[in-house]
Symmetry: C3
Subunit: 140 residues, 3 copies
Amino acid sequence: MTVFQKEFSLSPKPRGFHLVTKEILQQVPEITEIKSGIMQVFIQHTSAGLTINENADPTVREDFETFFNRTVPEDMSLYKHTYEGADDMTSHIKSSLLGSSVSLPVTNGRLNLGTWQGIYLCEHRNYGGSRKIVVTLMGN
Amino acid sequence: MTVFQKEFSLSPKPRGFHLVTKEILQQVPEITEIKSGIMQVFIQHTSAGLTINENADPTVREDFETFFNRTVPEDMSLYKHTYEGADDMTSHIKSSLLGSSVSLPVTNGRLNLGTWQGIYLCEHRNYGGSRKIVVTLMGN
Amino acid sequence: MTVFQKEFSLSPKPRGFHLVTKEILQQVPEITEIKSGIMQVFIQHTSAGLTINENADPTVREDFETFFNRTVPEDMSLYKHTYEGADDMTSHIKSSLLGSSVSLPVTNGRLNLGTWQGIYLCEHRNYGGSRKIVVTLMGN
């Protein structure tokens, strides 16, 4: 049984949804040693999230930003926790709607995703900076 | 340590929410070999999802469809990514709101769910076809 | 490879969002034996959920309650599954929006969370009672 774990930071991204599959995989070449197992990707923040979605057309990521801004409005009269601005509490809510981790199958040394799947960093803050990630690989 | 992994397809389902616990467990009889561990169920698509919810009353699944259609409206003026119709971008959004995988405890060779819990396939497309699944079982 | 699993109940909580990181960790002192791995926390209910969010300011938890009540309205005319009252179907929906489990990295015998992260019990029912949890620890 192999367990491999690594902590690293993603480069800072502007607010929005960003495809980060390659940036994550570059950090864990040890994935090639796992024939069958899982990869957990965890983000150590409460104002950004991770999700799996379409890896080709950038308008999907734009439409995500539109939808989540519409569904979680930056109306400060709705929230108490707004010390850091209108994008403070809304970022916490979005991070729980989308989730703090993704868990993916690993097969024959590679992520076993569908053809159109990729990992998104969901950056909800206007100025989020670099984001810390913990990847855990487990398998045989 | 046992790691067991299997890829298979679920039979095609109409748009809506479907209880698939039995259809999944039929594919992985090896679960009986795991005394203590986890089962990850991953869907290799970005327009369908997986979630855990009530396994008895079918009106729960109907109400899910009602709620998600109301919350993620099929109004093509809201989205750019609508090449495949009004259910295209909304399906991507719903799949990230509900998630691409579920991770469940396994105890004494069985899923250790609550009495009322089952696994839902969340089919967001009008004509989604069969959906590919990867199950990973890990434990002792 | 270590696999450790424990079932227990959380003390009953009023409707709302509650920080339960300590209450969970008290149940699994075996976490100190894991140098590198993951902890899965699973809730055996379909009307309550688990998520990761801000562990300091209680107004974040209040704003979560406000947001989810606004987004999943207790309007019984919208739903069929309302046998147990206006908080019945809405609790099922909220539990799938937020999720039934959280999966966290474990490093050097401790949860490897960000500074501001904690585990929330999301109690969606008016009178939910105690909630059953299954924790699975896996790693080396």
